[in-house]
Symmetry: D2
Subunit: 272 residues, 4 copies
């Protein structure tokens, strides 16, 4: 879940919605797995340009510190993620969002047969960044590939090149359909979200239509009624059932949210 707009308490995003992320952690409707109990993380911008990141290996529904933090922290830009491991260890350094400088990155999905091509991908990472890889996941590797290939200057291009690289390396190893992903990344000002799978049929991704609809979505949440008109949410699953509140991001496309504007584009991996 990626939020931008008027500063809100994290709990208004994480706990109060009808189908909140914390509820999804136990009973996801659309996710690849019902239970996303292998840790979670929250990144939020408040003091300075660098976001804070709170990550835990506990299931989100059990973490009392998350509840406390969420009741106290107010932010204009929040990334939150619940994890269902696809095999790598449940440890903080494998929890999303990942941070590098002022950037955050999170990923749903998987790189097929990651262990087979992990070394080749690691070699493609900028040597100056290599030692900053803190965990062992495919998701973080994809982040470092995107950083290597120009994320700071050309986010949509860099992600296209990173995915293209993974597909090329996988192809050399005879791995079919290597990439399955929704990705969200931000520099603190703009959010880019991607939906793509080599074989089509990517994981779900939605963005909120506009604030008026959001207000209707949460009639009993006065805080959301104070939202500015540029408030936007990008989510894997709608946080509620209201008709018209959510628009699906099509497969093989991306959405860029900057202030109140949304820009949709088509996503095509760039082979190296």
């Amino acid at each position: 879940m990626a939020y931008s707009g008027t500063p809100v308490l994290l709990e208004d995003l994480l706990f109060k919605p009808q189908n909140s992320l914390v509820i999804q952690s136990k009973h996801s409707r659309l996710g690849a797995t019902t239970v996303n109990g292998d840790g979670f993380g929250v990144g939020w911008y408040a003091e300075g340009a660098r976001p804070g990141v709170y990550r835990s290996t506990e299931p989100a529904w059990n973490d009392s510190n998350l509840r406390e933090l969420s009741a106290m922290a107010r932010s204009r830009r929040v990334f939150a993620h619940i994890r269902a491991s696809t095999g790598t260890a449940v440890q903080q350094s494998n929890c999303h969002p990942f941070r590098q400088g002022d950037w955050l990155w999170m990923h749903n999905g998987a790189i097929a047969d990651f262990s087979v091509i992990k070394r080749d991908l690691a070699l493609a990472v900028d040597p100056a960044l290599y030692a900053d890889i803190a965990g062992s996941t495919d998701s973080e590797m994809l982040f470092f590939l995107a950083l290597t290939l120009g994320l700071h200057d050309d986010p949509t291009g860099a992600v296209a090149r990173a995915v293209g690289l993974v597909e090329e390396v996988a192809g050399r190893h005879g791995i079919a359909d290597p990439v399955q992903m929704t990705v969200a990344t931000t520099d603190g000002e703009t959010t880019w979200a991607f939906r793509y799978a080599t074989a089509g049929s990517a994981r779900s991704l939605f963005h909120s239509t506009d604030v008026a609809t959001l207000r209707a979505q949460y009639p009993d949440n006065p805080q959301l009624h104070d939202l500015s008109d540029d408030a936007r949410l990008i989510v894997s699953e709608p946080l509620g059932d209201l008709q018209g509140a959510w628009r699906e991001v099509p497969e093989s496309s991306y959405v860029v949210v900057r202030g109140a504007s949304e820009e949709l584009g088509s996503f095509v991996p760039t082979a190296p």
Copy 2:
């Protein structure tokens, strides 16, 4: 899950069966909740009369130390429990099984409005035992009431008196249908298991029929084929689908397993 019989590796009980306890922790079929991810515990007898207890607040499916321990520890008597909290904190001291001396105790279910009657129940605990209450759950309180009311000498009577006491105290506070439980307890030689709810409709409880059936249940598990004829399992959910392998313990009854013998009795709470 309560096992007794030939010493087996814990992993043969916890990980290998088709619908193992670890699998149930994520996808229970019969439990009150689908996800039992609020910690777990294993008690096992090996060295001396006192059982070891390994308890963790992590979901069982994520605990790599449980996997390691289970591959190395062999025991003739194993209690294992996965927890779905009914409100009390997720902390080791609230994980089952509870131990006092050589005894183990575990409980599925809940005491209704426990916070309302907790103090009255605590006052009924033997003062010499009061300070040994380590956690905050209704399950542990029930254990201490049973210990107070004669568990060591007359287990079925003590549990009947403990439940009767809870029902009496709850009645004074106007709480309807206070007790919902399956309980298993052992002194290291005998296992007693109870199924009862004040309002009927108690949680499920099964026991294995006999070793021949168990062997048929796990045709591919050579270790279980070495089981002695007195091997027995008591479970909340059958560990597999084989017809005839499991016999339901009726409501308001208990089963006593001593060696190869099972004795079924009817369970009636004793009012104080």
Copy 3:
């Protein structure tokens, strides 16, 4: 450590001082134990009257989430505590500060032979509060006794009565020198800190003299240079070596900090 004054980032209090609390967690100079690695906690006031509480069983020096939170959370009133267990379990519910409504409470020290008198003390707690006792420590029990005996209306009197009660109960059980304590408590507006031991020789307690001295204490910390004149710190150990910055709270006394004013009084337990 109890801070009040201009809102500051938690990291300015917890990490930046020369002998910060996080450093003390590994190498305390004045504490009863050198290592205070059995968990820690932070309570802070920001949104609304109710403080947030972040508590962890990890050593403070290792908790990356504490570091993140401290870099993002700004507060006008902060309680922080590092724990060296005197025997009770290392679990979140035993970490200080404890919270009840808008109040926070933390304690260094111990009640001698607590397990012997725990039940008698628990019986003296207001029955309406009993079920809110979440952990198993003497420190939390002392808090609940103070709440029972009038903390909200008369903090110094209530603590005197709570300590008097403990001493009386301990006396009946033949326990010598039962109370060893420094205690700090706040309602969000005022801080009360106590230093007392039945046998004299209580743990150390200091308060900062005034802001001018604090500014001199941290010449390189520009944030503290922006402190208002009413900023005050109460600590178990001075956070730095500067002459004149810290004044010891005498044994058997208390200090009340309200805005820029400090009021010192002598503390005498009130027998029940």
Copy 4:
């Protein structure tokens, strides 16, 4: 600490000695740091050729599961390690001992400026092993380099080549005195222990002299009196003060323990 000999309960090794590893975790006498509270691990051989590994990020002195496990697990060969992080994350995958197949490996010390040369070292790891690197430490990297360079067939040679490689790579990056280490490794039958620092002055390492002396060391521990004559211990710090019980392993040397025999050799890194 590396033990081999008659099967003993882990608690006889970890908890009972006067200056046990668990006590050292809080108050090391000879270690580079007094507090080794950044996790710990135990590896032990019992069922089959593959050792079990229990690793935790909690301080050893607090881990109740370690205490339980240690009272129940009996082993003829035990590796145990307490960690003081030199910068890498406190997570299970960074805790020693590391395991690969039937082998265990643990390391005290550090590779200087590891982040600078980490990528070059990773590239030297056998590509078939690369994806098995689970954590982020210099210690695990050294293990994988040794595995790559022939650990299974020629342990002392492989470690010499691994250290030589590190020194060569470090030299190319202008890093002085790159290696500081004591290392212990075992295949389940033999233990190899190394003491070396590029600049001399390596961390301490001792081995027990013989069982008769050990028996004298623990006059009150009847279990150790049942030890076979081939029982041996290799430790960073003597577990007790008895004169003559411990012999220091000289700098730049290794000791091989196979049954009751010890063989000492001099250790010289082999440049690639």
